[in-house]
Amino acid sequence: MTTVSMTVNGKPVSAEAEGRTLLVEFLRDGLHLTGTHVGCDTSQCGACVVHVNGEAVKACTMFAQEAEGAEVTTIEGMANADGSLNVIQQAFQDHHGLQCGFCTPGMVMSAAALLKENPKPSEAEIRDYLEGNICRCTGYHNIVKAILAASGQDVGAIAAE
C-alpha cells in the first residue's frame, strides 16, 4: 500500500492504494465517488470514463498510481459552480439521452471531451467518437441528439419525430 494523491474535482485528495488498484476503484471505493460506473471491467463499455489532466480516460484501464499528481474530473465535478447542470448534462436531460442511466456518466464525460476538441462536431463525428461508449437502452439516437444540442447545433437535422 502506498498513499496516492491527486486533485479530484478541484479538491486535493489522498488515499491508500495498492499498486494494482485501478483508478476506478480508487474513485469509487476510496473516495466514494460512485457516479463513475463499472460496466465491463475490461475497457470496452465506457461507463467509467473520467478526465485525467483534461483527457478522457477509461478509469478501469488506469492504475490509481498512474494518476498520482494528476487533475481528475469525474461526473460529480461536471455541474456548474452554482450546482446547476452544465450544458451537456442539461441537454442529456432535456433530450431524453438516457434510460437506465448507467452509461450516462461515461457518455457525458466523453461528450465533454469531444466538445473540447471539436466544439461543433457533425453527427458522424459524434457517432465515431462514441464508439467506445456502449449504451444498451437508448439506441443512441437521443444521446447523439443531446450532444448536438449541447454544442449549440440544430437537432432537427438528425431525423426522427
Binding site: R28, I75, Q99, G101
Partner: protein
C-alpha cells in the same frame, strides 16, 4: 394535465450528475464482506471432490460455503426447484456455481474463487438441439402441440407448398449494470436485501426459503436497475440468496456483483430456436395451412422456459390469419446456461418463424413480400367508440361484438378485434416511400454488380398480458401528507423504461398536481407485497391502474370531507392546477390536505388492479391469454457488400402504436432502443459455445452489441395516433417489448438484398453476421 406529456425521466438529474444510486453505489457499513462463486469448468458430470483449502487460506477470505453449508433451501429456481444455488454434486453446465467465497474485498473473493481444486467425473454433455432430441432430454413429458383446423389436409390441398427451416441465435442481455445484491442482517432474524432485480417479491421468497424464515422477515428494496431486459427477472436470485446466506452465517453485511465475464458465463440468455415449417398457400400467397416445429434450447434448469416457449407458439401467427395451423414445441434440456426471459419472451422467435414463411412464399411466387404480408393480415378492426369511461371495448363481456362472421381468431382461439395494421402499414409504406424505393432499389441493383440493396417492411402484433393469468395483478400505496406532498409507491421496478415517471404522471393527474409534488420511492416489499415481476411490458398497465385506484380512493375521501366542510356537492369537487375547487370555494391542494387531516380523514390508501377478461388453458392452447395487442411496423433499407458480406442499415422508418401515450418521449425512447436491440439480435450479436460447452463470447470484445455508429443512417420514428380500445390506463398501450421485433425489418431487408444476387432463395439464419450473409450470397449465386 401531466399525462401524455413528454417530461424527462424521473431520475434524469441524478443520472447526469452521477448521484443516482445503483446497488453497487449504496454506502455500506464497515466490515461489509464481498462474495464470488467458484465455477465449474466442465459442462456435465459429477463432483468427486472439492479441495478448497487454498481458497480458505487465500488472503482476505472469511468463509467458503458449499451446498452442505446451506442450512435450508439450496435453490434459486423461479419455477420448479430444479436450480441449486451451489452444486449438489451434479454439474449441469460450464460456469455453474460450485462453492461460494466470502472475503473482505471483491477482488480477494474473485481471486480466491479461482483456487479451488475440483475433481470431476465428466459425462457427455448435451449441447445441441440434435444432442437433446437424440437423448430425449426435455422439459415436460413431450412436445407441446396446439392445432387449429386440419393443417395436414389444408397444406396437402393447397395449390402451392414449401418447407424449410430457420435457426436463430440467443442473445446476451448485456444490461450495462451487471447483476448485484447487498444483504444487511437486522435484528431478530430480519434481512434487508438490496437487489438489482425486476422481481423483488421473488427475491424475498427465495431468500426466505434459503434462510428458513417466513417472507415477513425479509425485506427487498429496489430503487433502480442499470437495465434489465428480462435478464433480471429471475437471474438475480442467486446473488441475493448468496448474500443473505453469507450474511446470516457471518453476521456481517454481504455484497456481490458479477464481473462482466462471470455474468455472461453464469446467467441465462435469450432462448435460441430452430423453427421448421411446412406451408400451403394460394396464388396470391395467402396461407391456407402452416405447420411449425419449434425447437428451443432451454439450458440446464427450467427457469421460465415453459412460458417463453408458450409465447413463441402464441406469436407463431404474428399479424396473420392462419386458417389452419399446427405448432409443435420442443423445450429441450441442455448442458448450457439456463435460458431465461429476454424482451419479447419467446415472441420474437415465434414471429421470426412466420416472417420467414412470408418471405419464402413471396420469393416463390415472385411477389412483393409486403403484398404477401398484407394479403395474410387479419381482418381490420371495426370502428368503435372509445374514450375514458365509456365502458366500451372490443372483446370484453359488456362490449358490442362485431358481427360474428367477420371476427377472425388466432391459432389459439382468441378473437382479433383490434387489428390496426392495415392502417399502420398503409401510412408507413407511404411515409417511407416503400413502392418507389423498392423500384429504385431494383434499378440500382441491376446497375451495381458488387453492392446490393434491399428493403423490407415488417409488422408486429404483440399480445399484452402475462400468460400465467394470476400474475396480472398489481398493488400501490399512496400517502398524502398534511403539507400536500404525495408519496408514491407501487410494485413495479424501474430499469430505465421510465415506469416511475409514467406512474407519477398518473398520480399527479389524479390529484391535479404538478409531477414535482409526487415523490417516487423505491420498490419495497414492505410497502407493496406479493407483486409480479416488472415484465411482459405490463409495468405501466398494471401499476398505473393500481396507483390510480389508490389516488382516487384518497381523492374521493378528500372530496367528501371538503364538501361537508364547505357544504358543497362532493361530486362537484375538482382537483386541478394544484388547487381544489369546492363549490364556490377554491383552496390550494396543500390547504385541502391540511383541512382533511384536521378533520381526521385518512390520507393514505392502497390500490389494487387485476387485468379483466383473461382466460387461458396453456395445455390445450386455447383461450384469451391477452388483454389486447400492441402493433407496429418498420421499414428498413440496407446495402450489402457481396464480396465481404458486410452491410449497413441505410434507413429505417418506424410507426408504432403506444395507444394514447402516457409520455411520448419515453415511449419513443423505448421504440428506438427496442428496435436497435432487436436489430442487434438478428445481425451482430452472436453467442458461440465450443464443443466442450464453454461460452466463447463472454465479454464485449467478442460479443458485439450495437455501437453508436451501427444504427441506421436515416432513422424516422413516429407514434401511431390512436387510443387503446381496451380500457387501460388513460388508453395507453404497453411499449416495452413490442418495438424489439421491429428489428426484423433489417433481417428481411438483408434477405431481400441477398436475393438480388441470384435465383435461389437466401434462407438466411440469424444472427445475420457478415459471414452468414456472405454464405447466403454464395448459395443464392449458385441458385440453391
Amino acid at each position: 394535465m401531466s399525462v401524455t406529456q413528454a417530461i424527462p425521466h424521473d431520475a434524469a438529474t441524478g443520472h447526469v450528475t452521477g448521484r443516482a444510486r445503483y446497488v453497487d453505489d449504496i454506502p455500506v457499513p464497515a466490515g461489509t464482506l464481498h462474495l464470488a462463486f467458484g465455477l465449474s469448468d466442465i459442462a456435465a458430470g459429477r463432483v468427486i471432490s472439492m479441495e478448497l483449502s487454498a481458497v480458505r487460506d487465500a488472503p482476505g477470505v472469511v468463509a467458503v460455503l458449499t451446498a452442505d453449508d446451506l442450512p435450508f433451501a439450496n435453490d434459486a429456481s423461479p419455477s420448479v426447484h430444479d436450480e441449486p444455488l451451489l452444486s449438489d454434486g451434479n454439474i449441469h453446465y460450464l460456469g455453474q456455481p460450485l462453492f461460494l467465497v466470502v472475503a473482505d474485498s471483491h477482488l480477494n473473493a474473485r481471486k480466491a474463487a479461482r483456487l479451488g481444486r475440483i475433481e470431476t467425473e465428466d459425462q457427455d454433455a448435451i449441447l445441441t438441439i440434435e444432442d437433446a432430441m437424440a437423448a430425449d432430454s426435455r422439459f415436460e413429458e413431450g412436445p407441446r402441440v396446439w392445432e387449429k383446423g386440419d393443417t395436414a389436409e389444408a397444406i396437402a390441398a393447397a395449390p402451392h407448398r414449401l418447407s424449410g427451416q430457420i435457426e436463430m441465435g440467443g442473445q446476451e442481455h448485456f444490461y450495462l449494470e451487471g447483476q448485484a445484491a447487498l444483504a444487511l442482517p437486522g435484528e431478530a432474524g430480519d434481512m434487508l436485501v438490496h437487489s438489482s432485480t425486476q422481481h423483488p417479491t421473488e427475491i424475498q421468497h427465495k431468500v426466505a426459503e434459503a434462510l428458513g424464515v417466513p417472507m415477513h422477515a425479509v425485506r427487498v428494496e429496489v430503487r433502480r436497475m442499470g437495465g434489465g431486459f428480462g435478464g433480471k427477472e429471475s437471474q438475480g436470485s442467486a446473488l441475493a440468496i448468496a448474500c443473505a446466506v453469507a450474511a446470516r452465517a457471518t453476521g456481517r453485511p454481504c455484497k456481490m456483483r458479477y464481473d462482466r465475464d462471470d455474468d455472461m458465463v453464469i446467467t441465462g440468455k435469450r432462448h435460441d430456436f430452430r423453427i421448421a415449417y411446412k406451408v400451403g398457400y394460394n396464388d396470391e400467397g395467402r396461407i391456407l395451412g402452416v405447420d411449425f416445429v419449434q425447437y428451443t434450447r432451454c439450458g440446464w434448469a427450467q427457469d421460465l422456459s415453459l412460458p417463453v416457449a408458450d409465447r413463441a407458439m402464441l406469436h407463431a401467427d404474428n399479424a396473420y390469419h392462419l386458417p389452419a395451423a399446427r405448432i409443435e414445441s420442443h423445450r429441450l434440456k441442455t448442458n448450457t446456461q439456463s435460458a431465461t426471459a429476454f424482451r419479447g419472451f419467446g415472441g420474437p422467435q415465434g414471429m421470426l418463424g412466420i416472417e420467414r414463411v412470408m418471405d419464402a412464399i413471396a420469393h416463390d411466387l415472385g411477389r412483393d413480400p409486403l403484398a404477401v404480408r398484407r394479403a395474410n393480415y387479419y381482418a381490420a378492426a371495426q370502428a368503435v367508440a372509445t374514450g375514458p369511461g365509456t365502458g366500451q371495448r372490443y372483446g370484453g363481456t359488456h362490449s358490442p361484438k362485431p358481427a360474428a362472421s367477420t371476427v377472425q381468431t388466432t391459432s389459439y382461439g382468441m378473437e382479433v378485434t383490434d387489428f390496426i395494421l392495415h392502417e399502420i402499414t398503409g401510412a408507413l409504406s407511404q411515409s417511407a416511400g416503400y413502392d418507389l424505393r423498392r423500384a429504385a432499389i431494383a434499378d440500382w441493383n441491376a446497375a451495381n454488380p458488387l453492392l446490393k440493396k434491399g428493403i423490407a417492411l415488417t409488422p408486429v402484433k404483440f399480445g399484452i398480458s402475462f400468460t400465467l393469468t394470476h400474475l396480472n395483478q398489481a398493488g400501490a400505496l399512496v400517502h398524502v401528507y398534511q403539507d400536500g406532498s404525495v408519496h408514491l409507491n407501487h410494485g413495479g421496478t424501474e430499469m430505465g423504461q421510465g415506469l416511475f415517471r409514467k406512474v407519477s404522471q398518473v398520480a399527479a393527474d389524479r390529484f391535479g398536481l404538478p409531477v414535482e409534488s409526487i415523490r417516487i420511492t423505491a420498490t419495497d416489499t414492505d410497502k407493496v407485497p406479493n407483486t409480479s415481476a416488472t415484465a411482459a411490458s405490463s409495468g405501466s398497465d398494471l401499476n398505473g391502474m393500481a396507483v390510480m385506484a389508490a389516488c382516487d380512493t384518497i381523492r374521493d375521501r378528500m372530496a367528501d370531507a371538503l364538501a361537508t366542510l364547505y357544504q358543497a356537492d362532493a361530486a362537484a369537487v375538482r382537483f386541478a392546477d394544484g388547487m381544489v375547487q369546492i363549490g364556490a370555494e377554491t383552496v390550494p391542494f396543500a390547504r385541502a390536505a391540511k383541512l382533511c387531516y384536521e378533520n381526521r380523514v385518512s390520507l393514505s390508501a392502497t390500490g389494487f388492479y387485476k387485468t379483466p377478461d383473461l382466460s387461458w388453458d396453456r395445455i390445450k392452447g386455447h383461450g384469451r391469454p391477452f388483454f389486447y395487442f400492441a402493433y407496429g411496423a418498420a421499414c428498413s433499407e440496407v446495402v450489402v457488400d457481396t464480396l465481404t458480406g458486410e452491410y449497413r442499415i441505410l434507413r429505417t422508418d418506424i410507426l408504432h402504436d403506444a395507444g394514447r401515450s402516457l409520455n411520448p418521449a419515453i415511449d419513443m425512447g423505448q421504440i428506438e432502443g427496442g428496435f436497435v436491440q432487436g436489430a442487434g439480435w438478428l445481425t451482430t450479436e452472436e453467442l458461440v459455445w465450443d464443443e466442450s460447452g464453454r461460452l466463447r463470447t463472454h465479454a464485449p470484445s467478442t460479443y458485439k452489441i450495437p455501437a453508436c455508429s451501427d444504427r441506421p443512417d436515416v432513422f424516422n420514428v413516429a407514434l401511431w395516433d390512436g387510443e387503446n380500445r381496451a380500457e387501460t390506463i388513460y388508453r395507453s398501450k404497453a411499449v416495452g417489448e413490442p418495438p424489439f421485433m421491429l428489428g426484423m425489418s433489417v433481417f428481411f431487408a438483408l434477405s431481400d438484398a441477398i436475393a438480388s444476387c441470384g435465383r435461389g432463395y437466401p434462407a438466411l439464419d440469424a444472427p445475420a453476421t457478415p459471414e452468414r450473409v456472405l454464405m447466403a450470397i454464395r448459395q443464392v449465386q449458385n441458385g440453391v
